[in-house]
Every structure is written in structure tokens, then in C-alpha cells.
């Protein structure tokens, strides 16, 4: 298998995730797009680990998975808080600091 | 690539077909046996129900009658439901059960997949069924279904932790995640220098076994942990809107999962398919092993069903407190003690 198979797949997922983060206004959907980006990174890490014959790639991927779990926990708590205060999870409506 | 089963040389594709057929049998036979033996006969005996003794000689055709009944019912979709998600939900639940069975060994060569991280894989796949249950609860467009789905999720997530932590004690003691390795470690173990019966981990890991059994009861949503489908509160929880073939899939999934968890418990705590005195890779065990496993599985399911028919239902807050404040701390202490003893001896 080519190394580039995995890298290009990662690039596609990364760009789809970037589109999602930019184009969505629903808080939960933005979080999902961030998950896509993190998974694209994981594919690259594991592919490079296999390429260099080192476990380090997998170790970093495991760390990313742990950090992603923490990120989703805090992120969903924030979305829940926004929903409770504003009865909507539309991120466009969270612009009170604009004045 | 060739493999040999019972000393007969087989091509790779022949071996694969054999393994797939074996997997199908391993999922469906115990599920049918559990339903027929325990749900019909034992429940009828313990709760003085007369119905299951009527169909056929001594009620032996009850299972056929039940399956026939479900197959001829109409496949209903409730109005306003999300049809695609509603249709896929039971399939997700059943698929997760099938994949769980894939790593359970029934003999030295009688396995579907012998992964180096077998037990970890089985526990990971068992958690996928939660998604199927949430799908069913949400897509039914019914408030009782949604409540049941949410209750089931809270319960399954809470009890997955003690389940995994209880397994960790066994993994530390055996020194491997591979299920064949765990069986071999038990078979070759010794109790104070006496190796006649090996060392089934139910003896050294009894705390782990007790926690595993309780967590398993909750994961299977069997009473006393059946709040997600509590008929007096939620009609039938996430199952409310299902009928016909799709309900049958959920039903098979429920009892096949009971079989899968009991098979894993048999491997982890009762020594799996191995019989002391017969060589570990002896060909005899490919025939005898599945029988030994089936007997041990039925013993464990008997315990589950016994608790099911005996105890009344928990309350939702009691259930969560029991998991987070009692089971998880005990299993953490169990892991610490096991690790210390493993290093000390």
C-alpha cells in the first residue's frame, strides 16, 4: 500500500471537517466536524507510525483520542449551557460581546 | 493458506465457510436454548405459569410457536417516525452481538477470529449496541420510547465501567488480552502448588466475578435492572413501537447477547473450553470444547435468570448510585490488590 493513500484520505476528511466547522451554525454539528478533523489527524499519525515502523504513531493517536474525549465532554457541557440560557444552540446568536 | 480442523486439511475458503457456519450456530443455538430452557420452562416453574407447557409434548414446541407468531405479524412503522433509522436500529443491536461472538474461542481451532486483543475487542463491540438502542428510542417518535432509550443509555454507560474494570483483574493475572491465552493461563495455573484442576479465576478473582455478573445483568437490562423497558412506567421503553420481524431481531439480540456475555464470563472466570488432563491443543477438544463451553454458559445464564425471576426492580437513582459509588470503587480496589499480588508473587 502507498503511504499517500492514507495521507490523502486524511486530507479529504480534514477538509470536509474544515468545511463543516465554517459552514455550520448548530453547536453540536460544529463539534462533530471537529471530530472529523481530529480523526483525519489520527489516520496520518498511525500511517506515519506504520511507515517508520515505530509505535510512537499509535501512542500519539491514543493521546489524541483521549484529548478528543475530554474536548467533547467540555464542549457538550458548554452547548448544553448555551441551550439552557438561550433556548437555542445556534452559534450565531452567541455574539453578545459585540455590543 | 491452509488450516486443519480435526486433522482434515482444508483450503482457506473452506475453512472460512466452516467458521462462518460455526459462528452462526454459536450465536443462535445458545440464544434458542436460553429462551426455551430458562425463559419458558424455568420461569413457568418458578412463577407457576401454565402457558409454556401446552404447545407440543411438555411444551417443547413453544419456541417454534413464538417465532412463527412474530414472523407472521405486520411490519409496522409508526406515523411520524424516522423510517430509515427505525429500520436499522435492531440490525445494529444484532450485528454488535454477532461481532462480539467472533472472538470467543470454543476449542483450540474452533474460533472465528483469534485476535491478540480479543477480550478488549469484545468489550469494545458490546458498547456499540447502545447506539442501536438510542436509534430505536429516538426514531419511534414516542415519548416513552425516547425515555426508555435515554434510561438504557445512562444505565449501559454506567455499568460498562465496572464490567471493563472487573475484566482488568483477570487480564492482569493472566498477563494477556488474548482469550486463548487467558484460557491457557487458567489451565496451566496452580493453586498452592496443586495443578490438578488448573486455576479457574473464579477462585482468585471472585470479587471480579461478582462485579462482572452484576454489571452483566445490568448490561443485558434483565430485571432487577430493567428500568429501560419497565412495563409499568414506560409501556415497553424503546421496544414499544416495534412489532413483527424487527421485534424478533431485538428479542434474538437480547438473548444472544446474554449468551455472548456468559461465554465471555466462562472464558474469563471458569476456564473456558479447556478440560484439565486433556492436552491444550488436542483435536478432541474441537468437538468436546464447544460442549464444555455450552454447559458453562448455561450455568452462568442460569444465575442471571435466577436473579431475574427473584428480585424486584431497582429505582433509577439507586441504580446509578450502585454503579458509581459501590461497584466502581470496589473494582478499582480489586485491580490495585491484584496488581500488587501479581508483582509480589
Amino acid at each position: 500500500m502507498w503511504l499517500n493513500q492514507f495521507l490523502v484520505l486524511g486530507a479529504v476528511l480534514f477538509c470536509i471537517g474544515v468545511y463543516g466547522v465554517l459552514a455550520r451554525r448548530n453547536g453540536v454539528m460544529v463539534l462533530m466536524s471537529i471530530e472529523l478533523i481530529l480523526n483525519a489527524v489520527n489516520i496520518n499519525l498511525v500511517a506515519f507510525g506504520a511507515f517508520h515502523q515505530t509505535p510512537a504513531g499509535q501512542v500519539f493517536a491514543l493521546f489524541v483520542i483521549a484529548v478528543a474525549a475530554a474536548e467533547v465532554g467540555v464542549g457538550l457541557a458548554l452547548v448544553l449551557l448555551i441551550y439552557r440560557n438561550r433556548s437555542s444552540i445556534d452559534l450565531e446568536s452567541v455574539d453578545l460581546l459585540k455590543g | 493458506m491452509t488450516g486443519s480442523v480435526l486433522a482434515i486439511e482444508l483450503a482457506y475458503w473452506q475453512e472460512t465457510i466452516l467458521r462462518v457456519l460455526g459462528l452462526l450456530a454459536a450465536v443462535l443455538l445458545p440464544a434458542g436454548a436460553i429462551v426455551n430452557l430458562y425463559l419458558f420452562k424455568m420461569m413457568a416453574f418458578m412463577q407457576s405459569r401454565l402457558g409454556p407447557w401446552e404447545a407440543g409434548p411438555a411444551g417443547s414446541l413453544q419456541l417454534v410457536a413464538e417465532v412463527g407468531k412474530w414472523l407472521q405479524k405486520e411490519d409496522l412503522f409508526p406515523a411520524g417516525s424516522d423510517r430509515r433509522v427505525f429500520a436499522w436500529a435492531p440490525i445494529v443491536v444484532v450485528a454488535s452481538t454477532f461481532i462480539m461472538y467472533a472472538v470467543v474461542p470454543f476449542g483450540p481451532d474452533a474460533w472465528f477470529a483469534d485476535l491478540p486483543t480479543g477480550i478488549y475487542f469484545a468489550l469494545a463491540v458490546s458498547s456499540v449496541s447502545v447506539i442501536g438502542i438510542l436509534m430505536a428510542g429516538w426514531a419511534s417518535a414516542n415519548k416513552y420510547s425516547l425515555m426508555g432509550g435515554l434510561r438504557a443509555t445512562g444505565q449501559l454507560i454506567a455499568y460498562e465501567l465496572p464490567l471493563v474494570l472487573a475484566v482488568l483483574g483477570v487480564v492482569i493475572q493472566a498477563g494477556t488480552l488474548n482469550m486463548q491465552g487467558i484460557i491457557e493461563a487458567q489451565r496451566n495455573g496452580e493453586i498452592f502448588g496443586f495443578g490438578g484442576i488448573g486455576n479457574p479465576y473464579i477462585l482468585t478473582q471472585f470479587v471480579g466475578f461478582a462485579i462482572f455478573m452484576i454489571a452483566m445483568q445490568a448490561e443485558l437490562t434483565q430485571p432487577p435492572f430493567d428500568m429501560p423497558v419497565a412495563e409499568s412506567e414506560l409501556v415497553a421503553g424503546y421496544l414499544t413501537e416495534y412489532s413483527g420481524f424487527r421485534f424478533l431481531l431485538f428479542f434474538i439480540g437480547e438473548y444472544a447477547t446474554a449468551g455472548a456475555f456468559s461465554a465471555i464470563a466462562a472464558v474469563l472466570f471458569l476456564g473456558g473450553w479447556a478440560v484439565p488432563g486433556i492436552a491444550f491443543d488436542s483435536n478432541v477438544m474441537n468437538v468436546l470444547g464447544p460442549v464444555v463451553m455450552l454447559v458453562k454458559m448455561m450455568l452462568i445464564v442460569f444465575l442471571v435468570m435466577w436473579f431475574r425471576f427473584t428480585y424486584p426492580r431497582f429505582r433509577e437513582d439507586q441504580l446509578q448510585i450502585f454503579a458509581w459509588k459501590i461497584l466502581i470503587p470496589i473494582s478499582l480496589v480489586n485491580i490495585a490488590v491484584t496488581a500488587v499480588l501479581k508483582v509480589a508473587f
Binding site: I16, Y19, R25, M32, L36, A70, L80, L81 | A124
Partner: protein, 166 residues
Amino acid sequence: MVAQNIFFGIIAAAMVLSAIRVVTTKNVVHAALYLVLVLAGVAAQFILVGAEFTGVTQVLVYIGAVIVLFLFGIMLTRARIGQEMDVDNERRWIAGLTAVLLFAVMTFALVDAFEDTDIEVNAALAPQTTQAVSDSIFRDYLIPFEAVSFLLLAALIGAIVVARRE
């Protein structure tokens, strides 16, 4: 090797289609369910390159916990059946353009840098096994590991404090 490439192609195609549905569907629950397909595909790709432990962890953590958390959060707030309005903002054409340009740049760089370099995937190779990974975590990366566990504790407390009803 041919079989592996065919599997890679099938899984990758399914992953990309599902990922596109994640960012275009109008229903939040559907988006989460398509995300399950993408994550399962990622796990399958990991197993394909011999990273078995990471693949199984991907299933356990992402599908078993993260997605369930998503679905739980969606259903606790609001989850209407059918399509919802206003899930996209008005900048989606610019967003699409950004994504396509980014993809073009990245792909050009990758193809230019690695051309047709091969990955040697052999399950028997020592550095890829679960044992090697655990040795690596608890020797070379012990301090990052402790940092991650501390981060998880902080996130746990933070999430409880943020979401708690006073």
C-alpha cells in the same frame, strides 16, 4: 496486498461519502449516525495498517462513548424528526471554497513529497504490536501519559461545573 488495497478503497469511499453527509445533512441525529460510519471506517483503516489496539480503542472510545454522548446531548436538548432549517450559515460557499483550496494545496504537497512510497504492513513486525505500544507509553511517553490523565480529570470536573444546574 491487492485484497488490502480493495478493502482500503471500499472503506475509504464509504468514509468520504459519510463524512460529506455529516456536514451536509439537515438532521442532527442523522449527522451523528453518519459520523459513526466515518469513525468505524477510521478504526478499520487502523486495523488495516496493523494498529489493532488503536483501532479497538477507537471503537470503544469514539463509537461507544463520544457518539453516545453526542446523541444523548442532542436528544436532551431537542431532536426533531425530519429536516431542520437554519443548520448552515450564509457563508457556506466561502467555506466550501476554503475547503477545496486547502485540499488542493495539501494533496499537491503530499503527492510531491511522498510520490509512491510504500508502507510495509506486516502484522508480525515487532514495533506495531500492542506490547510495543504499551512499552512505549509507559517508558518513553510516561510524562505525557500522566499529563493526559490529569487533563481528563480537569475536563471531568470542568464539564460537571459548567453543566450543573445551580
